[in-house]
């Protein structure tokens, strides 16, 4: 170290330093000499400081970063195929590329022999958030279907030898990147422009569906051969979205983008993107990127020169400097093209094209020599256009130099998440509101778009069990739209707590039930302990005294006292009866992290940040010598039920077990890889469960202290856990707001209780073993109580349905009643999902009879015409009639909503109307094509009974007007696939004005009944739609398809607003064997019960001994019915007539009359997760003939 001048001169040094530093470079030496005079030491000192002043990069110039543990290589070989190459129905063939978070393989989908690109997320590096983004991305990308976008086929999980990994199967594209393509083909300017327009088309398609790319660049666009030998080629956009950290519960945003990645992306980033506000990015940022892309493709260079610039410099250039004139690089681009490019490259996005579609349209106008929008229109300009349009433009393609691509061909994952979609929609909304032209219309469109995006975002979030994201998406919806069925449905799904206890805006760290379950105790950040009435959720008392947040609380075994431990280092004793602080325990030298009462009530143990665990007399709060153990960074402590043993969980990933009275630990449990946050003994004391940041919960055998089991939570770390009083279930609260239930025996996931939006800091069971309370440290101060048994929400119920028509909703009690295949009348309690057999009703005829039900009455008509009518509630027989004299074969039966008339369809295509009250024939609809025409497939009465709609096995839908007696065929709009073939299902809207019919290939046509005109065609469903139901207000139509999907459509816009049983291909998981079936069901399906499907796919079909009497019956019987009273959509299905069972999905009930904008408040709610119960009941025992 050099000798430094004494401190006394330091002020002088500083002055000179500042003065010289402020001078220009050339002037510096002079100033330095001037100021230092002859003092060489001083000069040397200042000079050395100046040298460091000028040094470009020092430690202080890089902001420090808070990082997690550095991530290590997970052993996935990047260049070779994994150990297992066949899984999830794919065979891996080669490695296409690797990225930061995964590998892309070339693979063959075995079922279709299709070649796909399989992106596999690495198991080791995938944080829960990445995994979730991955899933969201798959969901949103699956919505995109455009020739210009690489198609996503499937997303799921597979094991290639590194544990379960998520994957996305995408269209495999073999083609050059955009720049290589234009170069190789030597495309002319017009061809290049058309290519850019096609990219803009595809981008626009994505924008309309709420997806912003954010990373458009030539490396992300491949070109494949176009149709019909089109020389221009079809661009395909890859990799939607760049890595972006979702706004999580902590509300942080940060660009987790690496520098290397930025380099490839920067030149295409818009000014608002380089400004770094990742929230403030909308579709117009993509428009900017398209402008750069256009410039690059036309001119062969970028609009700005960046050679040798630092990242900061590049950002500044993008922000401040105008682009070069494209005509200086490519003279052919002068005029229109330059105007178009400049408009797209405007710094102010208000001045850019407002959509990628506008840009594409302008490019095409320019190609057609029509006036473009980008130009300030002048007479001269229009004149010139007119002249040019009438003359062929010589295609003189200059040899364009294509700059070598920066960046990698296979970029890393990208995060399309719900937030982006919503953000985009909100931007669209803002923008639309600002626009003057067509203001009303486009605002309405944007609103609709924003709404759809919010619904999609909420659904996607719920699929990922992210209640917080779902709640945010739902809150973004306008108040007046919140009354919709889907909004309320999702709102209920997003918060399923039975009660909320609200501490005033303060994180709650610990919560307990009293031993008798009558009150709940909480300890919170605001330094208080609160007592709540567990019956009504009312706050009973607030115990104040602690000087710091209360981290731990414990209730005495007799329920009379509460102990609390705080960051103020004291433990205090309170009397429940009057809330008095009785005693104070002092001694800890750090915050107390956990408090626990001994089972015999005599002792209290505390863990603390001071590295000790101490024991206190529970009456005097004097420290006892029974235990004084050193456990560094203890996070919590728990007592074995027999009181002999204490387990301490600590941040150093260890669990230490002590026996009371012994100083040395009884055992040290190693097994966790990160900090352990929680521990609990099961009621027998045989098992200790511990959970922590490593996202696992370990079950230890307390006899041997060896690991007995392990539960992988797979999401955020485990923050809290509690065994149910019977020891059968384990409730786990995670850092990311999930409250999960697992079977204590084998760790199988039983479900997720959705609702918490922040870390579930504590969870406790009511002694009844049914109710739970959880606390959340998300600072909203909300505690939730849950009931794990009551479940009136969507769940799968296995039913053995006789026929699609043999079920109905009872408008009086909301119960679902149906006839099962054993001829039994069964009922399902809508609130609990419990199925109960009422009594046997069917004669021994099996399939020979047709059924109809309006909810109150069942009607049965046998093949020979013998008819019975009986009450749905108790099967009381109302009416009986003998067989037809002529032996006609009935094919379908319908009953009017009021139960007064029935329609009986025949194989010859005719329908007879029966008056059920009088017991006589009330009319007949003649067959469409004479006696040998197609049989009646389905028929349905309009609510006012005037019309009967008839669908046949062949030919269109007919409408029988009972007033005039005529039968009118309804015309299907041209180019509606499938409708001519067959109408599978029919439904009238509640007011009778609209008729919906579904055909093959997922098409639904709606007609206006009075005018007989087709008004709307819904398409987009992949599978045949076999069930239709209107919501009671007639604004939505629910369709059920053969794959088990239920989709809700908005009839105003024709858009699908909700997809309830998702058609995600998740059931195709490879590990679908008997042992893991339950687990797979849970993971792979959503909450609406795909169990039936799972079962069906597993191949365990059973032989149906019954004779098949109706060869025209579709293989998948299903029906949907709308509960007229309560607005509940109910759907059921049996998977094939020879399968032994089906499933039905019960959706949440709403009381329409009481519905307000916050239906959560009044309703009992429980998220019925894909619990094992549901799965078990759905897979009811069947003879194993497989």
């Amino acid at each position: 170290m050099t000798e430094r001048p004494p401190e006394s001169t330091s002020a002088r040094i500083e002055d000179i330093f500042l003065a010289v530093a402020a001078a220009d470079g050339a002037d510096r030496d002079r100033r330095l000499d001037e100021l230092c005079g002859g003092d060489d030491a001083l000069r040397a000192e200042v000079r050395s400081l100046l040298a460091h002043h000028e040094r470009a990069e020092g430690v202080l110039d890089r902001p420090p970063l808070v990082v997690g543990a550095p991530f290590a290589s997970d052993g996935v070989s990047e260049a070779t195929l994994p150990p297992i190459t066949v899984a999830a129905g794919y065979r891996l063939r080669a490695v296409l590329g690797t990225g930061g978070m995964g590998v892309v393989y070339l693979a063959t989908q075995l079922s279709t022999r299709r070649t796909v690109a399989l992106k596999v997320i690495r198991p080791g590096t995938a944080s829960e958030a990445i995994a979730r983004r991955f899933e969201h991305e798959a969901l949103l990308l699956a919505k995109l279907s455009h020739p210009g976008i690489a198609q996503v086929f499937e997303a799921g999980e597979a094991d290639f030898g590194f544990g379960r990994q998520r994957f996305i199967a995408m269209e495999y594209l073999d083609g050059p990147t955009l720049c290589d393509h234009v170069d190789a083909r030597g495309l002319d300017v017009a061809g290049r422009l058309e290519l850019v327009a096609r990219v803009a088309d595809a981008t626009h398609h994505a924008h309309q569906r709420g997806v912003i790319h954010r990373d458009l660049k030539p490396a992300n666009i491949l070109v494949v051969a176009g149709r019909d030998g089109d020389a221009i080629g079809q661009p395909k956009i890859l990799d939607f979205g760049v890595a972006r950290v979702e706004r999580g519960a902590v509300g942080l945003t940060s660009m987790g983008t690496s520098v290397g990645q930025l380099v490839g992306t920067l030149p295409y980033m818009s000014p608002e993107q380089v400004l770094g506000d990742s929230d403030d990015v909308d579709v117009r940022s993509d428009v900017y990127a398209l402008g750069v892309l256009c410039f690059r493709v036309i001119a062969g260079e970028l609009p700005h020169r960046f050679e040798g610039a630092s990242i900061a410099e590049i950002a500044r250039i993008i922000r401040d400097e105008p682009p070069r004139r494209i005509s200086t690089l490519q003279p052919l681009a002068a005029g229109d093209i330059e105007a178009i490019v400049n408009r797209a490259l405007e710094k102010d996005r208000e001045r850019r094209y407002q959509s990628a579609g506008d840009l594409a349209a302008d490019i095409r106008r320019s190609l057609a020599h029509e006036p473009i929008e980008a130009h300030p229109a002048t007479t001269f300009y229009y004149l010139r256009k007119f002249v040019r349009r009438n003359r062929r433009v010589a295609a003189l393609a200059a040899a364009l130099v294509v700059v070598a691509l920066v960046g990698t061909a296979v970029s890393i994952w990208f995060g399309i998440d719900a937030t982006i979609a919503r953000g985009h929609a909100e931007m669209a909304l803002d923008r639309a509101e600002r626009r003057t032209r067509d203001a009303t219309e486009s605002a309405a469109q944007a609103r609709a778009q924003a709404y759809l995006a919010s619904m999609a975002a909420a659904s996607a979030a719920l699929s990922a069990f992210d209640a917080g994201a779902a709640a945010r998406a739902l809150e973004s919806v306008d108040l007046e739209r919140r009354g919709s069925w889907e909004w309320r449905h999702l709102a209920l799904a997003a918060d399923t707590a039975t009660k909320k206890l609200r501490a005033p805006m303060s994180a709650v760290y610990d919560v307990e039930f009293s031993p008798d379950g009558r009150f709940i105790v909480s300890g919170s950040f605001d330094r208080t302990v609160r007592l709540w009435d567990s019956a009504d959720g009312a706050l009973r008392a607030t115990l104040e005294g602690h000087e710091r947040p209360v981290w731990g609380i414990a209730v005495s075994p007799d329920g009379t006292h509460v102990a609390s431990g705080s960051a103020d280092r004291t433990v205090r004793l309170w009397r429940v009866a009057d809330g008095t602080e009785l005693k104070r325990g002092v001694g800890h030298e750090g915050a107390i992290t956990g408090v626990v009462w001994s089972p015999d009530g005599r002792l209290i143990a505390t863990s603390s940040e001071d590295g000790t665990v101490r024991c206190w007399d529970s009456e005097t709060l004097e420290e006892r010598t029974d235990l004084r153990a050193r456990v560094p960074r203890a996070r919590s402590v728990c007592w074995s039920p027999d009181g002999s043993t204490l387990a301490v969980a600590a941040d150093d990933a260890r669990v230490t077990v002590f026996r009371l009275g012994e100083a040395a630990p009884l055992a040290t449990l190693d097994g966790h890889t990160k900090g352990v946050l929680a521990g609990a003994f099961d009621p027998t004391g045989a098992t200790l469960a511990t959970g922590g940041l490593d996202r696992t919960c370990i079950l230890w055998d307390t006899a041997t202290w060896s690991r007995r089991g392990r539960i992988e939570v797979g999401v955020g770390g485990v923050r809290s856990l509690a065994f149910s009083p019977d020891g059968a279930s384990l409730a786990l609260g995670t850092l990311d707001g999930q409250l999960r239930l697992h079977a204590a025996t084998d760790g199988a996931a039983l479900g997720v209780l959705l609702g918490s939006t922040g870390t579930v800091s504590s969870v406790a069971w009511h002694p009844n073993g049914v109710d739970l309370v959880s606390a959340s440290s998300d600072r909203l101060g909300v505690m939730r109580t849950w009931n794990v048994r009551a479940s009136d929400r969507a769940q799968a119920v296995g039913v053995n349905l006789l026929s699609s028509a043999a079920l109905g909703f009872d408008p009086a009690d909301g119960r679902v009643r149906f006839i099962d295949r054993d001829g039994m009348l069964d009922e399902i309690d809508g609130a609990t999902g419990e199925t109960r057999a009422v009594r046997p009703v069917a004669r021994d005829r099996g399939d020979a009879a047709r059924w109809a039900c309006n909810g109150e009455r069942f009607l049965e008509v046998a093949d020979d015409g013998a008819m019975r009518l009986f009450d749905a509630s108790d099967a009381t027989e109302r009416r009986w009639r003998d067989a037809w004299p002529d032996g006609a074969v009935t094919t379908h039966l319908a009953i009017s909503d009021d139960g007064r008339i029935a329609g009986i369809g025949f194989a010859d295509g005719s329908v007879v109307i029966e008056d059920l009250q009088r017991g006589e024939r009330a009319g007949r609809a003649a067959p469409a094509e004479g006696p040998d025409g197609p049989g009646v497939e389905t028929c349905v009465f309009s609510p006012d009974r005037r019309y009967l709609a008839i669908g046949s096995a062949r030919g269109a839908v007919r409408l029988f007007d009972r007033m005039s007696g005529e039968v009118v065929p309804l015309r299907t709009p041209a180019s509606t696939p499938g409708m001519e073939e067959r109408a599978d299902a029919l439904a009238f809207s509640p007011d009778g004005s609209t008729l919906a019919a579904s055909g093959r290939e997922g098409t639904v046509v709606l007609w206006d009944v009075p005018s007989r005109r087709a008004t709307l065609t819904l398409s987009g469903e992949q599978a045949n739609i076999t069930a239709l139901a209107f919501t009671p207000d007639g604004s939505r139509l629910a369709t059920g398809n053969t794959l088990g999907g239920i989709v809700l459509w908005d009839l105003e816009t024709g858009a699908s607003v909700l997809s309830m049983a998702s058609r995600r291909t998740s059931c195709a998981g490879s590990s679908f064997d008997r042992e893991t079936r339950r687990c797979s069901c849970f993971k792979a399906t959503d909450r609406y019960g795909c169990c039936g499907r799972c079962r069906g796919r597993s191949g365990r079909r059973t032989h149906c001994p019954r004779r098949r009497r109706r060869p025209h019956t579709p293989p998948n019987d299903r029906s949907a019915a709308t509960d007229p009273g309560a607005g509940i959509t109910y759907s059921t299905a049996s998977v094939g007539r020879n399968a032994e069972f089906g499933f039905c999905a019960l959706s949440k009930r709403f009381d329409v009359a009481a519905a307000d904008s916050s239906p959560r408040r009044n309703q009992p709610k429980f998220e019925a997760p894909p619990s094992s119960h549901a799965c078990t009941s759905a897979t009811r025992p069947a003879p194993d003939h497989a």
Binding site: H53, P63, E128, V245, G251, S258, R472, R779
Partner: protein
């Protein structure tokens, strides 16, 4: 765009606001009490963020500090007593970062670590833990010499405040902050490079 949730969440806000008011009124104990609260909040935020986002992500202190501010103080409060908060936050952030750097340093030396990919950008851009630890020592020397400069460095570097914000917090002119920063930066960099030479 501020997360509506973040705005409405204000748990402990009254606590901190009360302390800030007291500190503003000259209560030294109050400002001492502030530190653990802020420290706790920052730790919790960082931890919860890491837990959510996994180790692959990095945060700039400025994000954490401002987030903590929103949570603990809220947006609607007066600016009068803001200074104490940011001083506490910078101090807390410094502790957190230095603690983590020490941990990492230990890990490295202890070899208790799996192979780290060199391409890991998070590591590449982040000051090496050794740098941070050296900076900590140098900064302590600077603080002994000139406490105000120490504070400027702390606020700018560890809390990520801008010059303007730093000036407001310390109640000095913008020029003073700029000068202090320029000098302190050069001085610290020289100290650090001198340490390099010493080491080897």
């Amino acid at each position: 765009m501020v997360d509506a949730d973040a705005n409405s969440r204000g748990g402990g806000r009254s606590d901190v606001t009360r302390l800030l008011d007291a500190a503003g009124a000259g209560d030294a104990r109050a400002s001492a009490e502030l530190l653990p609260l802020v420290y706790e909040e920052l730790q919790a935020l960082a931890r919860s963020f890491m837990a959510k986002e996994g180790a692959a992500h990095t945060l700039q202190p400025t994000a954490l500090v401002h987030e903590a501010y929103l949570r603990l103080v809220g947006d609607g409060s007066t600016w009068d007593n803001r200074g104490h908060f940011f001083v506490a936050a910078a101090t807390a952030m410094r502790r957190i970062l230095i603690d983590r750097a020490r941990q990492r340093h230990r890990l490295k030396r202890g070899g208790n670590r799996r192979r780290v990919e060199l391409a890991d950008a998070a590591l590449a851009t982040e000051p090496e833990s050794e740098d941070l630890l050296a900076l900590e020592q140098a900064l302590a020397r600077l603080e002994a010499k000139d406490p105000r400069k120490g504070q400027v460095v702390m606020l700018r570097y560890f809390a990520g405040l801008s010059n303007e914000e730093t000036a407001t917090v310390l109640g000095v002119s913008l020029a003073t902050v700029k000068n202090d920063w320029a000098f302190a930066r050069a001085w610290l960099h020289r100290e650090l490079s001198a340490d390099d030479g010493d080491g080897a």
